[in-house]
């Protein structure tokens, strides 16, 4: 056989594909650093803590960082109890067929496109929020966090359910052998066992909530300002992703304004990556 026969085309081809996907991931991260990094470095606290965003004059990211954080935390507050309750019920009280049905419903819910949530938000939710809370208008941080709460519900529910369900049956049997009821088994064995997995699920959900653009952009109000007082969730705000969505087309490509937007993107990326990595680590650490 000649040397040519030894040449493994598949090795070569799959290597090229693998290289492609690696460069893709690495390239985008490198670009963010290259474009946004110097801007954060040069502007420092003026950028991170600045309260005013005015292209061409000053770039203060604090309102956007605040907005992203605020809507994400609120979304978690609304979503987590509901998600955990259904995760527990699905895992502990439902027969296998119903369990698969509920999980299937959650999977479909996870697939609803962001723009559909946006449309629901603009034409229904913002009007309800205004009328129910008797506000002057319904484009608020609260409305955005309601939408996000629904969007991250399947993520938290599905992953926590996996975590609770995977409690080894010997542990359960041992506990119920001691005469504990289902609820007591749950609290003394299953939940402690699943805690890291649940924490991981929540962190992944945070990552998803922070990166969501379209739905948030349509209902958050678009105002680059930290509310006064800061906990006033009934006022409008701006998240990082929504800021990028609204302003990027204006300066696509280069210039100071673009660097500032990429610096925002870099911050967003860091927040999301950190939380996702931490979340994945928790889930994995618990599977072992």
């Amino acid at each position: 056989m000649s040397r040519f026969a030894e040449f493994d085309f598949f090795q070569w081809a799959t290597f090229v594909m693998a290289l492609l996907s690696m460069t893709l991931g690495a390239g985008i991260v490198a670009y963010l650093f290259w474009e946004g990094g110097p801007f954060i470095w040069n502007q420092g606290s003026q950028f991170l803590l600045g309260l005013d965003w005015f292209p061409g004059e000053e770039y203060g990211a604090a309102p956007m960082i605040f907005g992203s954080t605020a809507v994400t935390i609120l979304a978690l507050v609304f979503s987590t109890p509901l998600a955990l309750a259904s995760a527990i019920y699905t895992s502990e009280f439902l027969d296998p067929r119903r369990r698969l049905t509920v999980k299937g419903i959650m999977e479909i819910l996870a697939g609803v496109p962001g723009i559909v949530y946006g449309l629901l938000g603009v034409s229904l939710l913002s009007v309800w929020v205004r009328d129910v809370f008797n506000l002057i208008d319904g484009y608020t941080l609260l409305s955005a966090s309601f939408l996000l709460a629904i969007m991250i519900l399947p993520t938290i529910m599905t992953l926590s359910e996996d975590a609770i369900h995977s409690t080894p049956s010997e542990h359960r049997q041992a506990a119920s052998g001691l005469g504990l009821s289902k609820m007591e088994v749950l609290f003394s064995v299953a939940l402690p066992h699943a805690t890291p997995g649940i924490a991981g699920a929540i962190l992944l959900a945070i990552g998803r909530a922070m990166g969501e653009t379209i739905a948030v952009m349509l209902v958050i109000g678009g105002l680059d300002r930290i509310p006064e007082p800061w906990f006033d969730v009934f006022s409008s705000g701006q998240s990082i992703a929504s800021k990028l969505g609204r302003e990027a087309a204006e300066t696509l490509g280069f210039g100071e304004h673009w660097s500032a937007l990429m610096a925002l993107a870099l911050i967003l990326f860091f927040l999301v990556m950190f939380l996702t990595a931490f979340g994945n680590w928790l889930i994995k650490g618990f599977r072992k």
């Binding site: 598949f10 208008d137 109000g221 678009g222 105002l223």
Partner: protein
């Protein structure tokens, strides 16, 4: 052997696909697609004109995108589009950012920017506002319609994104500086449609809008200008009495393709004048 042939086929298939996909990347020789983007105020004119244009020139397709005047300019400067739509002049900063390029501006028509309020406020008696009153509302000094003799309702102050042409004209009139900050703002909107929808959804909002977008839910108030009440009507804009007006422009780089030239000539020609009028603006030819 069979395996080898299979693998060969598999690889061949994808290679062909990729060659097909990437070989056609260079611009087609008989490229006849024109791109336009920018101001949502100018968009209806260009979009409707493009439909007419297509009947005469079926070989040239014109795609139109929104975004706002700032997007219109930067897209042209960046070669993202052939023609940019702007409802304001190119600013100093924008010229400076692209100081190595030259631009050509053509004016299609004129438009007035109305100060608009929700219909509930208008029918409750707020039919005229002075420059000072609008300034106080936008800077956050006046927070309730009651202070202006209206109903006891908080004012929903709707601002626009800063690069928008409508905002430039309006804020320039109100604050004397086209990029002034509006501290009293409650919401910030983008396109004319979005601004219109937000004001119409509310029963106590104030905003800025091209007068062509005024309807029964979103009513333009008269401006108290130099002691006179001036309605934002086509006649007042045409005669120049109404104080907030601007040109509706299209902007291109200095050298453009022949098809872009053809479309611009069409836009400036007689067939588009009725479209401008029908869209609610003032034709200038």
């Amino acid at each position: 052997m069979v395996q080898k042939i299979k693998s060969f086929k598999f690889v061949l298939y994808w290679t062909c696909l990729f060659i097909f996909l990437f070989s056609s990347v260079p611009v087609n020789a008989k490229e006849t697609s024109l791109r336009v983007a920018g101001s949502t105020t100018v968009l209806p004119i260009v979009s409707r004109a493009a439909e007419k244009f297509k009947i005469e020139h079926p070989d040239i397709s014109v795609t139109v995108n929104a975004g706002g005047s700032g997007v219109g300019f930067s897209s042209v400067a960046d070669n993202r589009v052939d023609i940019g739509m702007m409802s304001r002049k190119i600013s100093e900063k924008e010229f400076k950012k692209y100081n190595n390029l030259e631009f050509k501006v053509h004016t299609l028509g004129r438009d007035g920017v109305a100060c608009v309020v929700s219909s509930e406020i208008y029918s409750a008696g707020i039919t005229t506002l002075s420059k000072k009153q609008i300034r106080d509302i936008y800077s956050g000094k006046i927070k309730n319609w009651k202070e202006l003799g209206g109903p006891d309702k908080k004012i929903v102050v709707v601002d626009k994104e800063r690069h928008r042409g409508t905002r430039h004209a309006f804020i320039h009139y109100v604050f004397g500086n086209p990029t002034a900050r509006a501290r009293g703002a409650r919401l910030v909107s983008g396109s004319n449609n979005e601004e219109q929808a937000k004001i119409a959804q509310s029963d106590s909002a104030i905003g800025m809008l091209s007068q062509a977008w005024i309807n029964k839910d979103v009513v333009g108030v008269a401006l108290l200008h130099e002691g006179k009440k001036i309605e934002p009507s086509i006649e007042n804009i045409q005669s120049g009495i109404y104080p907030i007006s601007r040109d509706l422009d299209i902007v291109t780089q200095k050298s453009i393709s022949s098809s872009a030239q053809l479309f611009i000539e069409f836009l400036l020609g007689p067939e588009v004048q009725p479209i401008i009028e029908k869209s609610g603006y003032v034709p200038i030819r």
